[in-house]
């Protein structure tokens, strides 16, 4: 039978991580399923988790006043969702709507923050991995802002 630790260790976000951290992370992880149309989190809510997506599709949306929400990104198998748990005020800035049946590992951010404070090596390892994702997403957001397919006027 597959253990939670072994399955978590196979997620691309944790690829190559020191096995000692897997046990620590698994202690903060829960296996979850979401149905299409449900929201994993909503803008403004307290952000005390992040998600390792195992399968499915989640739309990262921005709520618009008097308008349907706009999807700014989609998150799929093997991706990581959410870093608002990392920094105060620990509040979601977007909302996560499930588009396809989705399975994730939800990692308890509060539990992890405590573990990272107690063990800076773990904190540094996680931050390095999140920085890589943030750098990539920032790059993509800038590209998106250029609106390159608009007709030049």
């Amino acid at each position: 039978m597959e253990t939670l630790e072994r399955i978590i260790a196979e997620h691309p976000y944790l690829s190559g991580i020191d096995p000692q951290w897997i046990e620590l992370l698994s202690g903060c992880a829960a296996n979850r399923k979401y149905e299409p149309g449900s929201y994993i989190f909503r803008e403004g809510q307290e952000a005390n988790e992040f998600f390792l997506v195992r399968s499915g599709r989640i739309a990262v949306e921005m709520a618009m006043p008097n308008h349907d929400p706009i999807t700014v990104a989609t998150v799929l198998d093997g991706d990581v969702l959410g870093w608002s748990w990392l920094l105060p005020p620990y509040q979601w800035k977007f909302q996560g709507r499930v588009v396809e049946p989705t399975r994730v590992f939800a990692l308890d951010g509060k539990c992890l923050r405590q573990k990272c404070e107690a063990n800076h090596d773990l904190g540094y390892e996680l931050l390095k991995r999140f920085c890589k994702i943030i750098d990539r997403r920032l790059d993509q957001a800038r590209f998106q802002l250029l609106d390159v397919y608009a007709v030049a006027r």
């Binding site: 739309a59 990262v60 349907d68 990104a73 590209f143 390159v148 397919y149």
Partner: protein, 285 residues
């Protein structure tokens, strides 16, 4: 007085003199983009290499360079996917079946289909940049045993701007083919991917050492894509780009599309990245 020699071929219809072509059909692709299919009045051969372009003339309005977006195996007609953004393109997409337009070409160098034989083919297209690459897809699918896997990464502004939607869905179902589509912004009714075209690389199964990449879209998009390809291990000589400038004569005489030592109309529009890299990387050129 200096006499400039004019090649004999210049007077040939279809070279500098537009040849009359009759409109067979006009298909709406998106709100502002149409595919125009035309055939020679005289029923002449219309062979071309995917990636080549023609100069399309709407009589009394003007002439514009448009890439050929049809199937290279069809030798009796030519298709052009045209975004209606100015007077000449508006006039072209305003034509009805049976009406006539002027056609010069095809011009330029197309995609390296022979060079890619035996290899995987990666197509990265943005917006209307899929049009000049559609012929490559037709060719690879028609000659399936000559090529490895076909991977299409296509990005568009929004779901309503996606070209060839039915074909995209059909290509995605084919064996040895991966067709991934994304839009920069999606709404509630869009269940596909959202994000710029480079986000698709993560989901593509690529083997850079045996893959030829063909890229077409706005130049700024191609810069992001090149960065992604290089980071993913693609050699510069395996990356091919289609460029666009102010093409006029189509034959390198007028100089409008000169780009450093090259004329886009004659030496391009498809270039191998390692050959043009100093110019691609130079700002404001």
């Amino acid at each position: 007085m200096v006499t400039i020699p004019v090649p004999e071929v210049a007077a040939t219809p279809g070279f500098l003199v537009p040849e009359p072509f009759v409109v067979r059909r006009l298909t709406r692709e998106t709100q502002d983009t149409f595919t125009l299919t035309v055939a020679s009045h005289g029923g002449g051969d219309t062979s071309f290499v995917p990636g080549q372009f023609s100069m399309l003339w709407s009589y009394g309005v003007g002439e514009v360079p448009i890439s050929i977006s049809g199937d290279p195996a069809e030798h009796d007609c030519l298709s052009y996917t045209i975004r209606s953004v100015g007077a000449a393109t508006q006039a072209l997409v305003g034509r009805r079946a049976g009406e006539t337009i002027g056609v010069r070409g095809p011009f330029g160098h197309g995609w390296p289909l022979a060079e890619a034989r035996g290899r995987d083919v990666l197509i990265v297209a943005g917006g209307i940049g899929l049009a000049p690459l559609r012929g490559v897809i037709y060719h690879v699918l028609r000659n399936r045993r000559d090529y490895g896997r076909l991977i299409l990464l296509y990005g568009s502004r929004s779901p309503k701007d996606l070209l060839y939607r039915k074909e995209l869905a059909a290509w995605a179902r084919l064996p040895d083919t991966q067709a991934l589509v994304t839009v920069d912004y999606g709404g509630l009714n869009w269940h596909g991917r959202v994000g710029v075209v480079t986000t698709l690389f993560k989901y593509a199964r690529l083997h850079p050492e045996r893959t030829t990449a063909m890229v077409c879209g706005p130049e700024i998009m191609m810069r992001f894509v090149i960065r992604e390809l290089r980071a993913g291990g693609f050699a510069r000589e395996d990356i091919h780009l289609s460029l666009e400038r102010n093409m006029r004569c189509g034959s390198g005489f007028c100089g409008h599309c000169q780009w450093g030592p090259w004329f886009i109309c004659k030496d391009g529009p498809v270039f191998r990245y390692d050959r043009i890299r100093p110019l691609v990387d130079r700002h404001e050129l």
